[in-house]
């Protein structure tokens, strides 16, 4: 594809893929003469010995009929692809050795549906298989600062849960988020999101979500053979809900401060371990987050952040032999705190400390200390080295992590707040 010129790309492939709509229309306009030349070319074209002769490129149905149809590509969405790889060397009381893995390969597409709505999907291939992490429609017709989101998407909880793991500042999501919410926290439902200016230099945003299914996994419980099910048909009162309130403001000329509070309520879920199951379980997670960024554009930038989480309800699950699934109604707390220093526009180092009471028998304390260095070779690929000291139930593990991530195509995010 790299060898195709712009006209060739626009004429032969899909004008809207990988380029903004405005550019696509411009390219399409430029491509018209080239497309005409293709149609006039004699059948056959370039072939290699031993390969069957190919006919000239068929006319697109839309060109022939003068109409856009189901075979037209002019309204195709913008696509993006992310490759996230990880080398993980661990030494300690747990798993030892080196693991090289393609952590995830993500394909996403995004396009406007009409003036008031756009849709997207994010499909991810991981070790466990291929899954649809997000597929949702954003409806903007309720008012300028209101959005109604419908479908499957990441829940609006805290500062980091809306981002995919490969977009985070660290190799993995912080420990308490993984312990209480999961590495990724998706849901099938509806969310209303709105914001309002607060003076000239700040804004207040809030969201409310209702979900019929929550898509998350807990490594701690799965390691014990316990699976939770947050989906299924249920009464209205059993729907999961989220709420978030956050303020975002300038502090002086070169700093910003964000404060937020989040809540996730799951009134009904089931758990299964071994041969037994537990029903009518419930859980709540409340989080408070603060992020402070300082530094002028183009100069050193510092970012400090913290988040405190409190999980209550049927938080603690344990297998007591093969016959009994023990459920403990226990309040658990966890937090993380970090500081990042971007000493060059494309280089940064950071330190993160995290601690959490785990949702397993006895609620052992776990902590992680991460030191990481990130180098952006360009906007589209990134190398990260990280060192982690993890302590769990008086066992220590040291890990050296190398993450290499590449972004292809129209990968972009809105203002993250």
């Amino acid at each position: 594809m790299n060898q195709l010129n712009v006209r060739g790309l626009a004429a032969a492939l899909v004008p809207a893929i990988f380029v903004p709509a405005t550019l696509a229309s411009a390219l399409h306009a430029q491509a018209a003469p080239a497309a005409a030349q293709v149609k006039q070319a004699p059948a056959g074209g370039f072939t290699t010995p031993g390969m069957p002769a190919r006919s000239a490129m068929p006319q697109q149905a839309s060109d022939a009929s003068g109409q856009t149809s189901g075979f037209s590509s002019v309204f195709n969405p913008a696509f993006a692809f992310v490759v996230d790889t990880l080398a993980d060397y661990s030494d300690g009381d747990g798993e030892d050795g080196l693991e090289l893995s393609l952590r995830s390969a993500e394909l996403s597409a995004k396009s406007w549906i009409d003036p008031d709505a756009w849709a997207y999907f994010v499909a991810v291939a991981e070790e466990e298989g291929i899954g649809m992490e997000e597929a949702a429609i954003h409806y903007k017709g309720l008012g300028d600062t209101h959005t109604l989101r419908v479908g499957r998407f990441f829940l609006d909880f805290g500062k980091q849960m809306q981002a995919h793991v490969h977009d985070l500042r660290t190799v993995e999501r912080p420990l308490p988020l993984r312990a209480y919410l999961g590495s990724e926290l998706g849901g099938d439902g509806v969310q209303w999101d709105a914001w309002t200016p607060g003076g000239e230099t700040g804004a207040l945003r809030w969201s409310l979500g209702v979900f019929g299914a929550i898509n998350t996994e807990s490594e701690d419980l799965e390691d014990l053979g316990i699976e939770r099910d947050f989906g299924g048909r249920k009464d209205l009162g059993d729907l999961a809900m989220t709420a978030r309130l956050t303020s975002f403001m300038d502090v002086g000329e070169h700093s910003t401060l964000q404060l937020g509070a989040s809540w996730l309520g799951i009134p009904s879920f089931e758990a299964e371990g071994g041969a037994v199951a537990a029903e009518e379980l419930s859980q709540n997670v409340v989080g408070f987050d603060a992020t402070f960024g300082m530094g002028a554009d183009g100069e050193d930038k510092w970012t400090f952040g913290t988040e405190f989480l409190f999980a209550s309800g049927d938080t603690t699950l344990a297998l007591d032999g093969a016959e009994d699934l023990a459920v403990d109604d226990k309040g658990l707390t966890g937090f993380y705190i970090f500081g990042d220093w971007a000493f060059e526009p494309n280089q940064s180092v950071g330190l993160q400390l995290a601690n959490a009471e785990l949702p397993t028998a006895g609620n052992p304390d776990a902590s992680e200390i991460d030191i990481y260095y990130t180098r952006q070779f360009s906007e589209y690929h990134r190398l990260r080295f990280a060192v982690r000291q993890a302590s769990f139930d008086e066992e220590d593990t040291f890990a050296l992590l190398v993450q290499y991530t590449g972004f292809v195509g129209a990968h972009a995010h809105g203002v993250n707040w």
Binding site: V19, H146, V415
Partner: protein
Amino acid sequence: MCAAAALLAALPTHAADKLKVVATIPDLASMAMAIGGETVEVVVLAKGSSNLHQVTARPSHLVAMHKADVFLQVGLSLETSFVPALLEGCGNARIQPGAKGFVNVSEGYAALGVPTEVSRKDGDVHPHGNPHLNLDPLAGEHMARRIHAGLVANLPAESKRFDAGLEAHLKRLAEARARWELAAKEWKGRRVAGYHSDYDYVVRAWGLADAGSIEEKPGITPTPGHLARMVQRYKEQRPVLVLVAPWSNNSTVARVAEQSGCAVCELPSRCDAEGKLFDWIHMMDELHARLAKGFGTHWPPAQPPPAASGGV
């Protein structure tokens, strides 16, 4: 200096009947204020002199965009690090692309360096061409007319006022361009190099000879091998004046200059929202003055500029 002071005096007063204009860079803000005068209230997003590709969106940007009647951008993907997210999040239909409040000043201008193939193997490629239009000495009239059209479209009742503002601005611009052209007569064919492609429009405008950039590909940190080739090339083509922006006047440039025996000339990369270079014409005057100093030629030009006649 007086003009800059006058423009600064016209900074936002939050009058309800003023046209609320948000400009991505001070260059566009200064033109909007020169044309709109007291009728416009202008907010600038990227105030400093950092690389525009690395500007971070701030809460105040979101609020300003939300309240804006008119949004001015250079376009050509110059502001791609912060504008798309702000446009998406600001919740203001008046300034979305396609609406009359959205003004892309590069629209209709023949951009330099439009790639014949769009691939990331060529670095931080801008599919529409070189985005540093605000540093083109010949683009002043085009940008001013685009801004004027945007202001008129959004506040037609003040069109006569905007017409008068444009006329006065173009008169100043014609006088300035005469100065620049006169100074540049002595520069034709002189060899220059850049760290990035910021000053390619200056090179084209005045017929300078491009000795190649220190960046091998736009936005990509140069490799040691490329730096060695550039040092050798600059040595062979001496004298080469290395043009850098405040954000790119870095240790790599200093090393290349030292090893090749070439001089470095730091030029402004855009107007300064809070300093004496707020006005675009003053900023370009400063750019030409520093070029003249770098080349060892006269500034202001030795001969009096010819009287402005007609267009610019």
